[in-house]
């Protein structure tokens, strides 16, 4: 197996050829903030929080989809990156209606935690306050589009792990939204198996079990990666 050596934050790191900068950094114990990345499913590079600086490349690179290369010099913590990461989080907060105080995911939300971690004590841009809907037509689960950041974790989880591809993204720009099947209410979907993996995958309070109230929605995301690993390594006999 081909191995490349590179430098991340002045630390020499070795990686398998083809491995992403994000994976190599994690293996070396260097934490890069992420939001749309989910262990066990493919990368979307949608959130841009994992942006890093690569010497010799003019543009910032999303670590999750940037392949490691021999001699690469990567920086993950600079003032520029910190400013962009905070800006990305602020824009996510303005684009939807994120009211932590009354959210099912309060205290268990990756968006909320990252905002605090990145020093976001207020948002400098005007809130858009879009009119978005809540779909409670499913008998067990619900989707609150106000809290959706379009990371597409649910879309990828449903497609790649469950194999149902109930979820997808419809619309363009600020009108983009997650749809079930051809845009019907979730409860009317003929492909949804009600497995709940999308609910486990959601980083915010957008997907939740019905009946959960403020701060009650906890998740076990490792289960999804465990499932993928177990399948790949044939840990079950059928």
């Amino acid at each position: 197996m081909a191995v490349v050596t590179l430098t991340i934050d002045d630390k020499p790191v070795s990686a398998r050829a083809g491995e992403s900068v994000l994976a190599a950094a994690r293996e070396a114990g260097i934490r890069i903030p992420t939001l749309c990345h989910l262990d066990g499913v493919s990368e979307a590079a949608a959130c841009r929080l994992c942006l890093v600086q690569v010497e010799g490349r003019g543009r910032l690179q999303a670590a999750c989809v940037t392949e490691t290369a021999e001699g690469m010099i990567v920086r993950t913590q600079t003032d520029t990156l910190r400013e962009y990461r905070r800006m990305i989080l602020e824009l996510l907060f303005t684009e939807g209606n994120h009211v932590c105080a009354v959210c099912v995911a309060n205290g268990n939300c990756e968006l909320q935690s990252l905002a605090a971690e990145q020093g976001m004590d207020h948002v400098r841009y005007p809130y858009l306050n879009p009119a978005r809907t809540v779909d409670v037509s499913h008998k067990q689960y619900a989707i609150d589009h106000n809290r959706c950041i379009l990371c597409t974790r649910c879309v990828r989880t449903c497609d790649e792990i469950e194999g149902a591809h109930t979820w997808d993204v419809a619309g363009r720009g600020t009108l983009s939204h997650i749809v079930a099947d051809m845009g019907q209410p979730w409860g009317d979907s003929v492909t949804c198996t009600s497995c709940g993996k999308c609910v486990q995958a959601c980083p915010t309070g957008a997907l939740f079990r019905q009946g959960s109230t403020v701060a009650e929605m906890t998740r076990d995301r490792e289960k999804l990666a465990d499932l993928v690993t177990a399948r790949r390594d044939k840990k079950w006999t059928v």
Partner: protein, 181 residues
């Protein structure tokens, strides 16, 4: 040493931040000799005075009175702190924004069937200040010096920033001190 002139203000919020302020419990006794509480819903001053050193402002800017008050606070205070999530982000107070402008909000609240019987728009402008079309965080109306998120900010978080400001230190706060919600 001169006492620090402290003001606390209640704009478009639920007063939960002020309840959390009172939750500082016995530390309020330590605080009392260091400050003059010159204006507050917890005190009896009718006019917001000149020369306030530190103002903790709870609530979003939701109506004409809030907007007027915000400007008065800025003019008459050295340091203005956005006190709690409503002041910082609009929070629950701003949840009406997606419903539309003020008239649509009033119609939804007072005229729809769900509003019950005897439906009527509140119209006494002498008593009820006019709603703004969009609820704004405090810093969209006036420049703000420090932000104290939380719904409400826990008492320990309030104490930390008040201590910093009394000692004329710039508050530097870790992730667990600025978490929303």
């Amino acid at each position: 040493m001169d006492r620090v002139k402290l003001a606390t203000v209640w704009l478009g919020g639920c007063s939960g931040c002020h309840m959390s302020f009172l939750d500082m419990d016995e530390w309020l006794i330590d605080l009392a000799p260091k400050i003059d509480l010159v204006y507050s819903p917890l005190a009896d001053a009718k006019e917001y005075p000149d020369g306030v050193d530190v103002a903790l402002v709870e609530g979003a800017v939701a109506n004409e009175e809030n907007r007027h008050m915000a400007k008065v606070i800025r003019r008459r205070s050295k340091v203005v702190v956005s006190f709690g999530d409503c002041a910082v982000s609009g929070n629950v107070t701003a949840m009406r924004n997606p419903l539309g402008k003020s008239l649509e909000v009033l119609r939804t609240s007072y005229l729809l069937e769900s509003a019950g019987t005897n439906t009527r728009l509140p119209d006494d402008r002498e008593i009820v200040p006019a709603l703004l079309d969009k609820v704004l965080p405090l810093h969209d109306e006036i420049p703000v010096d420090h932000y104290l998120p939380g719904c409400p900010p826990p008492a320990a978080r309030i104490k930390a920033i008040v201590e910093d400001l009394l000692a004329a230190r710039t508050p530097v706060r870790s992730a667990d001190q600025i978490r929303f919600g």
